[in-house]
Symmetry: C2
Subunit: 182 residues, 2 copies
């Protein structure tokens, strides 16, 4: 999956691993994240596979930049991936639910405190997503850096981010009141 994300970004134009990481933090963070170590190693592997090419750019004062460009083979496997629809729902892995699942024998007050903490954590996510939305709608769209249609699709995914956090907070709030009644 990380491979297609990297190809997807480089398709917008030649890019360094560092820039991809920055872009991900301001666009895909609500549904996908990666450490810089994984991005750099995967880009190198993709270069060996002939999907992308790179060239070093020297800079005064700053460290050198390795700029990656999309090669035909890379464009092709990205397009092939997009053309074949995903036929199964993505399985969920939600650590917090594992904890709740096994929390029947815990101190009820500690469980309640943890649920309260997570309400706060998910409220903070919404604040972050609002900043992302502003950035997409005001900075990127107005400056015409990225085509409008791209931003529309990015906003679709952000919409899901908001809905997810809203749903999560509702569930936490309901669970909190049930725990208090027990």
């Amino acid at each position: 999956m990380i491979k297609y994300i990297l190809l997807g970004f480089i398709k917008y134009g030649p890019m360094t691993g560092y820039e991809i990481k920055q872009n991900m933090e301001h666009s895909t963070a609500h549904f996908w994240h990666a450490h810089h170590s994984q991005i750099y190693t995967t880009l190198r592997k993709m270069e060996q596979e002939g999907l992308v090419s790179s060239q070093l750019q020297q800079q005064e004062g700053s460290p050198d930049r390795r700029v990656y460009s999309l090669l035909p083979a890379g464009r092709q496997i990205l397009n092939e991936w997009l053309e074949h629809p995903q036929t199964e729902a993505t399985p969920i892995k939600e650590d917090f639910l594992v904890r709740i699942f096994f929390s029947a024998t815990r101190d009820p007050q500690e469980v309640i405190a943890e649920v309260r903490l997570h309400i706060k954590l998910h409220q903070e996510k919404i604040i972050i997503y609002q900043a992302t939305q502003n950035h997409l709608e005001n900075d990127l769209r107005c400056k015409k850096i990225v085509p409008d249609r791209e931003i529309d699709f990015w906003l679709f995914t952000l919409d899901m981010g908001f809905r997810f956090e809203k749903m999560y907070i509702e569930w936490l709030t309901e669970t909190l009141s049930r725990l208090q009644q027990m």
Copy 2:
């Protein structure tokens, strides 16, 4: 994480890897899944670490069963893990959103078809969760196999499963209509 899930199940009573896998499919599947290969290898590793012990049970006709029991060290690290609250929201990795994010240049009809397919996939999830709910409320709770309080907590996580799928379908439906208007 898989380690704590295995310990959590074995805490209910001695269990084989096969049984843990079955239990997971009827209880944690909506927020965590694991392949049998990972379960078996992790159980073996945990035995070497002194967290669980196992004994082979011979059976006529059927293959031998390796039954795992919780050791004090295993109970302790499970309790320690539960006592330390999770202080960050679980990051999401949602393949389908990656596809939507990079779908601006795809054939709109193919994107629409894929969104429709996912509405169906998530509706099917709800049907499965309803069967799980019946199993918990009617079979398990009435037969008094598992303490009522445990089932309450399991139902909390299942409630999240329903809410997630409902939210997902609402988002897909909204996205579908926006795509059709474009």
